[in-house]
């Protein structure tokens, strides 16, 4: 049932990202609903299927951004793996901790993505993008994380999923 939930959440987040995210841009920074859902689901459920979800979400973002398939997919999967390790080591089932973890993982994903894009010869302006794109997006995700958690909790009740660390 959770696998179907990944499909549903993925499609819903893709639709939100295409239709709603441009209107939520603050200073040119859009929230990334796909990444947010990947991180929140991984931290909450610690499910190996989340890696596949991360890869597919990353491919979708690749398709509708720079067009080089695999760059964001790799960074999303790497972040999901690190997020799972971090959650297994230090996870505390509280909202503030989850918000902090999601914000930190967003920064991590941004750094990995910049590294991958740099490898692909995009001449990435590291510090400029880190301070003007990655960190503001992490702050944005921290603001949206409570809403995402609320949605995931509703989904857990609906699907009768018991998070492993609850």
């Amino acid at each position: 049932m959770t696998r179907l939930a990944y499909v549903g959440v993925g499609l819903a987040m893709l639709w939100l990202q295409v239709s709603l995210a441009p209107y939520l841009a603050i200073g040119g920074i859009k929230p990334n609903f796909l990444l947010l859902s990947v991180l929140v689901l991984q931290v909450r459920w610690l499910d190996p299927w989340a890696f596949l979800f991360a890869a597919v979400a990353g491919l979708a973002v690749d398709t509708f951004s720079h067009g080089m398939l695999g760059a964001y997919a790799a960074s999303y999967v790497a972040t999901a793996v690190l997020g799972r390790r971090l959650a297994l080591m230090i996870y505390e089932n509280s909202r503030p901790f989850t918000v902090l973890l999601v914000a930190g993982l967003t920064v991590l994903e941004g750094l990995i993505a910049l590294a991958v894009l740099n490898l692909l010869d995009e001449q990435v302006p590291w510090f400029t993008w880190l301070f003007t794109r990655v960190l503001p997006q992490a702050a944005y995700h921290a603001l949206l994380c409570p809403f995402a958690l609320w949605g995931v909790e509703r989904l857990e009740r609906l699907l009768k999923v018991v998070p492993p660390r609850s």
Binding site: Q17, V18, A21, P22, G28, I29, K30, N32, L34, A60, V61, T63, F64, S65, H66, G67, Y72, A113, L114, L117, E122, Q123, V124, P125, W129, R133, Q137
Partner: protein, 298 residues
């Protein structure tokens, strides 16, 4: 006397009628005569007229303000609804008028060279914050191929980054990965105007490479002696094999010259406002892939 007394009413009536006929006859022959009679009559009637007007006005107001108020609230609500509907209609009409102007301009532009333009609507934008791309609702079925130029009446928008059957991704020219050769319109025209055809001057056309910075454009590789000034218009040179020659790219806003460097750098404000793009034209010349040049140089 007895007879006069008996028929006094009829006699009075007859006299009055005679007097009226006399007055009518007098006014008919000369309208200015007997004005005194008018003035006297008006002076007598005026107080009655005023008092009647006030009383009748008061009664009328009483009815209109209090008695007829029974349906006023309902009528007011109906009128509010009508005003709202009319306001919506006005807004719709204004929007339609703006859209009509935009579409008329686009239609006129459609008929201008270069030929073979396909109009596509913008249906999305980049999912990430690092790249500047647009998603359009026309793809390979409309003849669009990778690297085809995307333009607007105002100037260059970008190029086709990837294409599927029904949609395509446009890489905007302000995207950091975008680089293309350009030349400065004014200095080119000046050189053509001289007409001396000296080889050195012709080779020294003010060219450069424009690349996106994410927000705007920067032109590099401009030779140090080039005559480039703020306000100069920058156009495509046609040498890159993607854009036809002569499309407006933007306007120079700032020049940076360092004595120790070989080239100057210019900041360029794009001619197109990328935040307001709703539709674009894709220049479709043939069905070859964009790896081959679509247009010759000059």
């Amino acid at each position: 006397m007895e007879l006069l007394k008996r028929y006094r009413i009829y006699i009075s009536l007859f006299v009055v009628l005679l007097a009226l006929i006399g007055v009518l006859n007098a006014r008919a022959s000369d309208p200015t005569r007997l004005r005194v009679v008018d003035e006297v009559l008006q002076a007598i009637v005026y107080p009655f007229e005023v008092s009647f007007h006030k009383v009748s006005g008061g009664i009328s107001a009483l009815f209109s303000r209090y008695v007829y108020l029974v349906n006023l609230k309902q009528e007011n609500e109906q009128l509010k609804l009508q005003v709202q509907a009319l306001q919506e209609q006005v807004n719709h009409d204004i929007n339609s008028a703006i859209q009509f102007d935009v579409l008329r301009e686009q239609l006129q532009f459609m008929e201008e060279p270069p030929e073979g333009k396909v109009f596509a609507e913008v249906i999305g934008e980049s999912l990430d914050n690092l790249h500047q791309v647009l998603l359009i609702n026309k793809g390979s079925l409309a003849g669009i191929r990778r690297n085809f130029p995307v333009i607007l009446r105002e100037g260059v928008v970008g190029r086709i980054q990837s294409v599927t059957a029904l949609q395509a991704v446009v890489q905007l020219m302000v995207d950091r990965r975008h680089r293309f050769p350009v030349l400065v319109e004014r200095s080119r025209e000046k050189m053509t105007g001289r007409g001396d055809g000296s080889g050195i001057e012709m080779l020294a056309q003010d060219r450069g490479i424009v690349y996106g910075t994410g927000q705007e454009l920067r032109m590099t590789r401009i030779r140090m002696l080039a005559d480039v000034q703020p306000g100069d218009r920058v156009i495509t040179s046609g040498l890159g094999g993607v854009f036809p020659k002569g499309l407006l790219v933007g306007t120079v806003t700032k020049i940076s010259r360092e004595r120790h460097e070989l080239f100057q750098t210019a900041e360029i404000r794009p001619a197109v406002d990328f935040r307001k793009i709703e539709g674009v034209f894709v220049v479709v010349k043939d069905r070859t892939d964009g790896s081959h040049p679509l247009f010759s140089g000059p």
